[in-house]
């Protein structure tokens, strides 16, 4: 069960959040640009009442001496993108810790008025501030 939505003081603006990308499920072909890109659904929260969007919190991984790229690419190879906490907060979102079984570095990004709903402009803000951590070749970050 997800933690109750909150904004973590310990996470400062420059802290990095990682969002994993499944190359088979999250990537679409955009005929308007003629390129493959990530779907906007990648930057959507889950719909349960306290649910948000799952992320990995980079500094927690590093503090444990674990290789970041290795960690976010297992057990299944996935791509991943990253953005900073400041970008999320500027979009009106909250960020908090939410450790789960198998991932003590797990966090959530929540909407502020509705934790489980991001507006289109919030998603766009996250997309625009994201870059590849583990790149999927030939795929743009979009949505």
């Amino acid at each position: 069960m997800a933690a109750q939505p909150y904004d973590e003081d310990d996470l400062i603006d420059v802290d990095i959040l990682i969002r994993r990308v499944n190359p088979k499920q999250h990537v679409v072909f955009d005929e308007n640009t003629g390129k493959k890109r990530t779907s906007s659904k990648l930057f959507s929260p889950s719909s349960g009442p306290n649910d948000g969007m799952s992320v990995d919190i980079q500094k927690l991984i590093e503090n444990d001496g674990v290789n970041v790229q290795d960690f976010v690419s297992t057990p299944t190879f996935t791509g991943s993108v990253f953005f900073d906490v400041n970008s999320a907060r500027n979009a009106g979102l909250m960020v908090g810790y939410d450790p789960i079984v198998g991932n003590p570095y797990h966090g959530e990004v929540w909407g502020s008025s509705k934790p489980n709903r991001f507006t289109k402009s919030q998603k766009r803000a996250l997309i625009n501030s994201s870059a590849w951590l583990v790149e999927i070749p030939g795929v743009d970050i979009g949505g």
């Binding site: 955009d30 308007n32 640009t33 659904k41 889950s46 719909s47 789960i100």
Partner: protein, 166 residues
């Protein structure tokens, strides 16, 4: 409207009063009784979707690297229903993108439009269309009536569709 004359018999006893119907027809659950066969069932939408929906409803837990669930069967069935309604022959099949919570987004990106139907649950859709030329955006919440988005789909077609109304 009409089906082929397939069924002609239901057994019953006693012409006067009791209308006994054989057990397999006693259970008159109408949920499966009334199906109209859509003539375009051989369309590529159906062929592509069947495989993809099968894949999405069979995704392993954690498919997204976190706690992702497979697309729920009811959600997938509802999406199939919606797509049968919206099908137009000159529009290619959409992309289907799963959500971590078992939801499903149906999307097209062509003709300088982005159309995304985010099916959060059966009968709970957030439909969005962005005009890529003007950046105009329209968002509609839909339950089970797709009338408002038919024109969105038509605008995605390769050429003027020949629409046969039944």
């Amino acid at each position: 409207m009409s089906l082929a004359w397939k069924e002609g018999t239901t057994a019953f006893q006693d012409s006067q009063k009791a209308r006994y119907i054989q057990p397999d027809q006693f259970i008159g659950s109408a949920f499966t009784s009334y199906r109209v066969v859509v003539p375009q069932n051989d369309s590529s939408w159906v062929r592509i979707l069947e495989e993809r929906l099968n894949e999405l409803t069979s995704l392993p837990t954690g498919w997204d690297g976190y706690r992702g669930k497979p697309v729920s069967f009811q959600c997938a069935y509802f999406v199939a229903n919606m797509l049968e309604r919206l099908y137009q022959p000159n529009v290619p099949a959409p992309s289907l993108v799963p959500g971590s919570d078992g939801s499903l987004q149906v999307e097209w990106h062509r003709n300088m439009f982005d159309v995304e139907l985010d099916v959060l649950d059966a009968q709970n859709i957030v439909a969005t269309r962005v005009n890529c030329k003007t950046d105009d955006e329209r968002v509609i919440e839909i339950e089970n009536d797709f009338s408002e988005i038919v024109d969105w789909i038509t605008a995605l077609s390769s050429k003027k569709p020949h629409i046969v109304r039944t």
